[in-house]
């Protein structure tokens, strides 16, 4: 029971810390706004500082909200996929959603779509990728029908297909003005998040995270062998499909709004496992909170340390790797 108590205190503390960091992030930036002004703006009382209200409400608030959602979503999707595939190396992009969405966005940029058009195109292709995976899996005959290896293999195939298509688009794109846009976009950044993009991206992320959260106990049984999971009364095809579609909706939405962000989906669930063991009743909620914190911190650093924004994917690895190594040394990896 010790573990459950530790988990409870950690969750309470982490949620408080998350709120504090979010407030700090609202203040921080090239244009600094004092905390009392931020609170007054959030309470709807306005500010005495010129432009402060616009910066906070139109620029920082949507960006901060979306970075937290993206981090929580990617970490939850990663944790879910790790259990689903009984594989510690699974990430949210394992089934090709990220590459599908990248293709959709690159295509949108190439065709000169509006930013909403690019986002919708990315979401469409991200979800299309995972539907194709289902289609390929269904064609498997005999003993392999419905086996998880078939799903992973199909994911690999679809993933590399879309990756090739992204390369094709980069190849034909105008190297002077279109190609840099695509390349920078693929590196991932929260800089263009507005309330409009929040409206497009947030709903599917929130729904996906909620579904995964409520399915968390089933994920324990899913991580065992197929026969064991069935013998525990799990409806395998149905549960598996729900998890995959939820994770795909999350990943496609994140990629659609802010590009490809690596590491979070792999790193954060493992941090949760090292601290609280492998039971998904703890791993999933912890991943959601830690994911939100990690993404928020990384993005705040990305926009504050220099005048030019640092692509956030670079930072997730640069910050994530040392954090991971320190934890690995302290806890000795996943033992509990």
């Amino acid at each position: 029971m010790k573990l459950d108590v530790k988990f409870k205190y950690w969750m309470i503390a982490s949620t408080v810390i998350l709120i504090v960091i979010a407030l700090f992030a609202l203040c921080a930036g090239q244009f600094q706004v004092p905390a009392d002004q931020v609170l007054s703006i959030l309470a709807g009382k306005g500010s005495t500082l010129k432009n402060a209200e616009t910066v906070i409400r139109q620029v920082r608030l949507p960006r901060i909200l979306f970075s937290m959602l993206a981090g929580a979503g990617l970490a939850a999707a990663g944790a879910a996929f790790q259990s689903l595939f009984s594989n510690p190396l699974a990430t949210p992009d394992t089934l090709g959603t990220a590459n599908g969405a990248s293709f959709g966005a690159a295509l949108g940029i190439l065709l000169g779509m509006s930013s909403a058009g690019i986002q919708l195109s990315a979401m469409f292709f991200g979800i299309l990728a995972v539907l194709l995976v289902f289609l390929v899996t269904r064609t498997a005959a005999g003993q392999n029908k419905g086996s998880i290896i078939m799903v992973i293999l199909a994911g690999l195939v679809i993933s590399s297909l879309f990756s090739a298509l992204v390369t094709l688009i980069k190849y034909v794109a105008d190297p002077n003005n279109i190609l840099p846009v695509i390349t920078f976009w693929l590196m991932g950044s929260f800089s263009s998040v507005t309330f409009k993009s929040l409206q497009i991206g947030a709903p599917l992320i929130i729904i996906g995270v909620l579904i995964l959260f409520f399915l968390r106990y089933r994920m324990n049984a899913m991580s065992l062998s197929n026969d064991e999971a069935k013998s525990l009364g799990v409806n395998l095809p149905l549960t598996r499909s729900i998890i995959i579609i939820s994770a795909a909706a999350i990943t496609a939405s994140v990629v659609a709004i802010c590009g490809v962000i690596g590491w979070v989906g792999l790193l954060i669930p493992h941090i949760a496992r090292m601290l609280f063991g492998n039971d998904n009743r703890r791993v999933l909620p912890a991943s959601i909170v830690f994911g939100a914190e990690f993404m928020l911190i990384t993005d705040t650093i990305a926009r504050c340390v220099s005048n030019a924004e640092i692509p956030v994917s670079i930072l997730t690895a640069v910050i994530g790797a040392p954090v991971f190594i320190i934890l690995l040394r302290k806890t000795g990896g996943i033992r509990i």
């Binding site: 409806n235 492998n278 009743r281 509990i336």
Partner: protein, 267 residues
């Protein structure tokens, strides 16, 4: 509970018959052992009985009702599966693993309740592993892990256990622990147990009836001591066999000596 397999047939490839009209019946409190050579279809039969594979012909009856007419959860509340002890990819605590046995009673989005936790604790007591509750499944021995999996099965309050080679890979002491557990569950708690095994001695020790699988999908089913005689085992395993009986403290124990290979007819 009465569990029956009637004329089950199965083959992976059409020309290669694995099970040919196999029948068996387990009454309440009975222990049934399944023996046969490697590739004889022991595991296949087990998978068919549990619905992981589908019989091409034949039926499975639970208290006279066809398994096809039962809801998944209904079936798994009566029948529990004890797989071979393998390391988990993501090792859970012993108590978490045992608690998973309550899953057939939970809906998709439901969390286990305090009552489920009590039932799981009781199952750990019955399997004699309560002292391991807070340990990780990666830190306990193979024998202990097998008992954990039995406890997980017991947590679903089943009327029958189906065990896949429960004593394979265990040392003498752990083998006896598992066998005694099977005896206790059947005789004292009136559970039916069906188990696969490579050891005819163990079948003679604990089982009431035995299904002996032969090559080409043939099989015979009956009282263990009638089925596991020298002649039948010679035929099933292709080995000359001698059964030696020894009376120790009023109980007869049998040991089986594989003497020599029977030359196969290569034609």
């Amino acid at each position: 509970m009465k569990f029956e397999v009637k004329d089950g047939c199965f083959s992976y490839l059409k020309e290669d018959i694995v099970l040919d009209h196999v029948s068996l019946c387990a009454d309440e409190g009975q222990v049934i052992s399944i023996l046969g050579p490697n590739g004889g279809g022991k595991t296949t039969l087990l998978k068919c009985m549990l619905g992981f594979l589908k019989f091409a012909e034949g039926a499975i009856l639970v208290d006279g009702v066809s398994e096809k007419e039962m809801k998944q959860n209904e079936f798994w509340q009566k029948v529990a599966y004890v797989p071979q002890a393998r390391t988990q990819t993501f090792p859970y605590l012993v108590r978490e693993t045992v608690l998973m046995g309550r899953s057939p009673y939970l809906s998709m989005f439901q969390m286990p309740s305090a009552i489920d936790k009590e039932i799981a604790e009781d199952a750990m007591k019955r399997a004699g592993i309560l002292h391991l509750a807070e340990k990780s499944c990666a830190e306990i021995s193979g024998g202990e892990l097998q008992l954990v999996l039995i406890a997980r099965a017991l947590a679903s309050k089943p009327e029958m256990l189906v065990m896949d080679e429960p004593e394979t890979g265990l040392d003498f002491r752990n083998q006896l622990l598992v066998l005694n557990m099977i005896k206790k569950l059947s005789k004292e708690e009136h559970l039916s147990v069906i188990f696969n095994t490579h050891y005819p001695e163990h079948a003679l020790e604990v089982s009431d009836h035995t299904l002996l699988l032969m090559k080409n999908g043939n099989s015979m089913f009956g009282e263990t001591k009638d089925i596991l005689n020298e002649k039948n085992m010679c035929e099933a395993f292709g080995v000359n066999i001698k059964i030696i009986e020894e009376n120790i403290e009023g109980l007869t124990h049998s040991t089986i000596l594989p003497v020599s290979l029977i030359e196969e007819d290569k034609s």
